[in-house]
Each structure stands twice: as C-alpha cells, then as structure tokens.
Symmetry: C2
Amino acid sequence: MSTISDVAKLAKVSVSTVSRVISGKGYVSKETQKKVLQAAQELAYSPNLIARNLQSGKTQTIGFITNSPLGFPNSFLGTFIAIANLHDYYVTLYFTNGDKNKEIDVLNQMKHRQLDGIFVFNRSNEWSVFESYTAYGPIATRYRINSKQIYSSHIDHYPIYLASLNYLYQQGYKKIAHSMGNPENRNTKARIKAINSFYQGNGLLLNVDWLFCETSTENNGNQLAHWFHHATDKPEALACHSDSIAVEFISELQNLGYNVPRDVAVIGFDNSDISRLMHVTTVDYSANLQAENSFVHLYNQLNNTNIPQHHLEYKLIERKTTPKINDYIEQD
Amino acid sequence: MSTISDVAKLAKVSVSTVSRVISGKGYVSKETQKKVLQAAQELAYSPNLIARNLQSGKTQTIGFITNSPLGFPNSFLGTFIAIANLHDYYVTLYFTNGDKNKEIDVLNQMKHRQLDGIFVFNRSNEWSVFESYTAYGPIATRYRINSKQIYSSHIDHYPIYLASLNYLYQQGYKKIAHSMGNPENRNTKARIKAINSFYQGNGLLLNVDWLFCETSTENNGNQLAHWFHHATDKPEALACHSDSIAVEFISELQNLGYNVPRDVAVIGFDNSDISRLMHVTTVDYSANLQAENSFVHLYNQLNNTNIPQHHLEYKLIERKTTPKINDYIEQD
DNA sequence: CTGTTAGCGCTTTCAT
DNA sequence: ATGAAAGCGCTAACAG
C-alpha cells in the first residue's frame, strides 16, 4: 500500500507537491503534475482518507438514529442518503431498539469526532440529552420540537389531522378511535388539539377510551387489533399517526377474521410503500423534502453554507380503507 | 476541544501514560490512573477516534451496498447492523439505484481505507469487479457465487424451490408461472434446475412463456400483474423469488380488480415483514443467520478470529395466498 | 510503572 | 512553482 511519500520519491518531487496535485489545490506546473500522476498510477496510489480526516477533523459522515428496522422509514432514509451522497457525505445507520444507552453511544461517536452530525429519526432519551451534545456537532430531527440547538424539519400536524378527521366525517364516520404517539411530542399535542376542534366543531362527543397514546412502539397495531376484537362498543374508524401502526392493525384484524374497511375504516399517515401496497388511505406530508431539509440543515451548519430549505405540504391520499360508510361492496 | 497532551499536562504525566489509562492497555498505578482520570474529567476530554483510526489503519466501519430502499431488506439489514454493533463495528449504508459507478465509488471508499469491509446486498457490476477490490479488504455477499475471494453466505435454492413447487402441486396448482432473478445468478440457475426436476418428476409440461427473469428490479411485480391481466391463458399460481415481487404483484392485481388467492395463488420468498402483513405464503431461509454469517466472516477476516458460522435452514411459511385450489372461501 | 520518541499519511504555512 | 518542516491526536516500541 503506497503512500504519498512513495509517490514523491518515485516522481522525484516533494510530498507537498504530490499533495497539491492529488488534492487539486495550489499551483503545480503541467510537467510536474504529469510526472506525479504517472508515478501515482504506477504505484496504484490512493489517498488515505483517514489521514485527511485527521487533518481536517471531519469524517464526512452523518449518523442516522432510528429505533428499529420495522418502522418502514425506507423512503425517508433513502432520500436522506441520496442527498447526503450527492454532497459527498456518508450516512452510518444505528438501530437503537429504544435503548437509551445505545442512543448515547451514537451521540458519543460524534463527541469522538467519528460523526460530523446526527439525524434523529426516533429517540428514547430526553431532548435535553441531545441538546447537550450539540456542542460537538449539529443535530437534526423530524420531530416538531422547540429547541434553539436542535433543528427540526417538521410540518404542523394540527391542520393535517383536522383534515383527516374532517375527511372521515365527510365519509360518514363519526365514531373514531385515535392512535397517537408519545403524548409529550408536540405532534401529538397538535393532534389532540385537532381532535378537540373536530369534536367541538361537529358537536360530537369524544370518547376518551378511544384515545390511544403509544408507550412502546412495539406491536401497537397488533394490540389495537386485539382491543378492537374485544371491545363491546367498537369505533367505525381508526385514525393512526403512522402507516406502520395502520397496517399492523389491519393485518392482525384480518387474522382475527375481520375485514377492513367493512368492519372498520382506517386512515394512516406517512404515505409509505406499505400503505400503497395495502391500499390504505393515508397522508403524504412531503417526507422526502423533510429528509432533504434535514440533511441540508446539517450540511449548512457544517460548511457555513446557506442552501435554502423546502416548504412542506401535505396531501390526503385516498385509497380503499375509507369508503363512504355503509358503501362497502364485497370485492369480487 | 482538549487533546491527550492537554490531559497529560494537567495531570503532570506523559501522553503515553494518559494513552494507557484511556485505552486501558498497559500498566498504570492506581494513583496516576486516578490523577489522569480526574484531569480528563476536568477537561471534558474525549479521545479523537480519527487519530486512533489513522494509527490502526482501520475505521471499524463496514459498507453495506444495496440497490434501493424499496426492496424491504429491513430485517436483514437490522440484523447485520445489530451484530456489527455488538462487535464494535459500524455500518454505512449506500443506495446505488443500480448505478454501476456509485457501486465503484463505494468500493473505492474501501480502497481509500474509509471502509474496512463491504457487504453486497445487491450488485450491478460484474463479480470480477468486486474481486479486484478484495485486495483492499474483505467482501461478502448473500448471493451464491463461486469465488475464492468473495465470501458468500448462501443456501442452496434448488431444494427450497423444489419444495415450494411441490407444495403448490400438493395444494392442487399445476399451472404455475415463475418469477426469477438475474438468469446469471447461481440462485436462478438452481431454481431453473428445480423447475425442470419438478415438471419432469410430475409429468407436467413447462410453459416457457411463464418463466420470467428479471432485468430491472423496478416494478417487476407491477408488470407481472399487468401481464396476468392481459394473458389469455392465465396460470393458477405465481411463484416468486422474493416477497417484494409477490406483494407488488398482489397489490397491483387488486387494483386491477382481481383477488388473490381466488384468481391466482402466490408464493413469495424471504419471510419479510411485508409478507407477514399481507398474509403471503413464503419461505423463511434464516436470512438473519445469513446476515450474521456475513458479518462474522468479515469480522473474522479483519481480526484473524475464527468465530463459527451458522448453518442455514429453510422452512415454508404457509399463509393465506396458497389455499387448496378451488377451496377459496370468500372472507366475511 | 512511566517517559521519550518515532511514526500513522496527509495538509499547510512559510520560505525560496 | 516547489520544498522543508511542523503539525493533526494518538499508539507503541524502547529505555529506564
């Protein structure tokens, strides 16, 4: 494995000259450049990026923290990586399975300069923990949080969720159960606000027993299906805060002998592949732009640039799980 | 950002002593250790891993190459990362979208010592290209290939596919279409061999028009659905080489007004989450063990260890898309 | 048990 | 336009 000084020797120039032609910085005469390139070629020289990184103090690597591979963040992650690669950044993926310590390990990677920045797709620790690490590098998330130190590319869930509920209402559903995230999340709070507006606005009575907040993400859709199975008073529709909950719910319900939407309508959230495959009505909220915004922010912080952010929009994607009530026709 | 020599100064010892206590290697007296730790604490010192990497020439990072985020390799990837993290390795994910150059870029990352090893989940370039890079580090894949240089944790698809076909036969399906991978893959060849055995063994006639080999992974299930829609002579069952093809096929068929399994039975391959959610009969072939084997091999190569590999088994997972023919009962 | 010293491979002033 | 030399922060002989 040849080094820069091997090349220098062979080309009979100094290491700094070689460095200049390899990195393309600084003045080098055409002739010496040619000599160097030839020597480099001959020795099959390739620069050691670790040494470069030590010099620059950067690794060009962003850490991506997510709970588990089961959350179907595929498209988001794909976009994030694509845009990162476009800017010569790489992304290292960490599955924490909700383990706070694993999350801390990742944050420490940044502290140890192994990571230039971090994106938080899921989190287990308090935001204050993340904030304390912003001293070592930029952190971004998709959650809607109120922090000066952590960037958040989010979209207000209030109008979106209100639109979802109004849509369900318009389709004839009045008895609606709600599956929501961590009650401390601002997204969840926005949804609760939307729920209140909705029920008051339509003169409906909110059944508090039909308000589910997530404690552990694990199998939540599954549990909801069993809850539905045993409930004496069943809702006409379930509004979910993620497609993954929605499809787990539907799938398990099918195992229990139910039919969606005949027995209950379902609306998801994310417009993920899985919702498309399973024909679940959902909401698209420009997750790809959100991913792009997140990376761009990290990039801007890291490089003192000012690439502009995209504005996020949402759109209801109507599929088969929310027909007009009582309109369901047995598929043939 | 304090360095090891800052700590050394404050603790009034040499850098090597500090290095010893931080890395836990070599003899240090309890007292000096305490002094050093205290100084480190005071300065909020944390080791710069890049420097360590330069010293060791390693990054503790494995590159994971995959085509696109749409192939549902979630569980495999999750296992791979989990086992890697357990061994203090990290994994950087690359989506190539079938772009050969992007694949080469990743290989060059290893050449530049940014990556200690590479796992190939999908590939676009010839294997010989990959082989030429094994000079720079170990490469592993899940494909069944014949290479001394690239490790492959695979399972023979011949008996598996034969078992799938026999199962379909036993369920009463005799008109079977086949969706397969790249005809140059040895897995595909094994499947073709299984097909021949099957048709000959059962005295059936193989319809060559029902043999689909994949050129581009994109939307293959989709295309198959449209093919089915327009075919005058339709098969009774489709056997797929991946769950992702199977579910895309089913989903698009549903869009076209068909019903699976009433109109056509489907068997997948992978036992992925998506097949579970959509109740697709599939084959489990210990993909998680395959992921583990792959990492373990890379680890063994990198560390001159000899952690043993797992033996891969397969198991047919019977779900709802392959009932006894003509036994389909409209779900209620 | 601890300190000195020489790198790891590259970039970057600062001279010339 | 090119070279010498000083690091980047850490590890690992080697000496004592």
